[in-house]
């Protein structure tokens, strides 16, 4: 099992990459809205992603179950 510091050091860059991909995807959506002059008819997937990030941004997760919370959250999107 990894120590707390080793856990951060091992996975930070991959997590950074994944967050950048999410940021770029949201930018891509905004650029598409600008080009088309209209939002998507159904923005629920974007809203779901933003809500998921709010869950992640909560400082305390005593059960260390962020992934489970996100899976339950994303299950609302069909």
């Amino acid at each position: 099992m990894l120590s707390p510091q080793k856990t951060l050091d091992t996975y930070y860059l991959e997590a950074r990459r994944d967050l950048l991909e999410v940021a770029a995807m949201l930018d891509r959506y905004d650029e598409a809205v600008k080009r088309d002059g209209a939002k998507a008819e159904n923005e629920s997937k974007k809203v779901s992603l933003l809500e998921a990030m709010e869950i992640l941004a909560q400082p305390e997760h005593p059960n260390a179950n962020r992934a489970e919370q996100l899976l339950n959250h994303f299950a609302k999107i069909t």
Binding site: L13, E14, R17, L20, E21, A24, D27, R28, E31
Partner: protein, 273 residues
């Protein structure tokens, strides 16, 4: 589709890369001098390395029908050794005369120290004196924005031709000042640490493409030369034409590198899609 790999460290890769690249349409690779993973102590080590990439590596690529070109420089990470840097610089003109050497690179900055800046200036001066192209590495991760700004400041204080300078590893936070200053900008696609194939296509859709180059990661670390093909698939998946892809992934490298007469691969036009 015919593809150019503008930034590829072949000596760190196996022949299987060449074979697969050939199967996927790669017609030429360009190998800048880079860091070996440790700081070299002897100028002779560089000289042998330059001989390897300018003499031997083209024969290995040719086995698979791929043209191989190179660049020579002292890597920024090794610029702290001034004696070594100066001696390698003294011997570099011999290699600039090799038939497949396209210019001076990759020089640039790593931690943006005074010695790195001095080395960058010396490399650029040599390139301009010998009418060579220049490939400039910009730092990684948290050093990137500051390092890129410093590169631009160094160049602004020198008598350079921006047409002949390619500033590499740009990302969203650094591309604008590089293009605004008139330089060529390169995006390097890495699995984790630099630009990704999708983000590169976002940048291609956002900025004028005339001075943009896309290159894959291909070195001894976690890297994947086929990130370049990934970005081509992503570009095409978004509805861009085959010719638009050819302009970026084949013709733009030809236009930049073709400023050196040793590069004889011409831009191509797809007559019918």
């Amino acid at each position: 589709m015919q593809i150019i790999q503008p930034h590829y460290h072949a000596i760190a890769r196996t022949a299987q890369d060449y074979e697969r690249m050939a199967m996927s349409g790669v017609v030429a690779v360009c190998e800048p001098a880079f860091w070996a993973g440790f700081d070299r102590r002897h100028p002779e080590t560089f000289i042998d390395y330059f001989a390897q990439i300018s003499e031997f590596e083209p024969t290995r690529a040719a086995e698979f029908g791929i043209r191989h070109y190179c660049w020579v420089a002292v890597n920024p990470k090794e610029a702290e050794n001034k004696e070594l840097t100066n001696e390698v610089l003294r011997q570099m003109p011999e290699f600039l005369g090799k038939p497949t050497c396209l210019g001076v690179g990759e020089t640039g900055l790593h931690k943006s120290t005074p010695n790195e800046i001095e080395s960058l200036q010396a490399h650029v001066e040599m390139a301009m004196k010998h009418d060579q192209l220049v490939l400039i590495h910009t730092p990684h991760l948290s050093d990137k924005a500051h390092g890129t700004k410093t590169v631009l400041e160094v160049l602004a204080g020198m008598d350079v031709n921006p047409d002949k300078i390619w500033i590499d590893h740009v990302e969203e936070q650094t591309i604008e000042p590089v293009l605004d200053a008139g330089y060529w900008a390169g995006m390097t696609l890495y699995p984790v640490t630099k630009c990704s194939p999708r983000r590169a296509v976002d940048i291609l859709e956002k900025y004028p493409r005339e001075r943009l180059l896309v290159n894959s990661s291909a070195d001894w670390g976690p890297s994947d030369p086929f990130t370049l093909q990934e970005s081509i698939v992503e570009f095409r998946r978004r509805g861009h034409s085959l010719q638009a892809a050819v302009e970026i992934y084949h013709n733009n490298p030809c236009r930049f590198l073709g400023q050196n007469p040793k590069w004889d691969i011409k831009p191509i036009t797809i007559s019918e899609e």
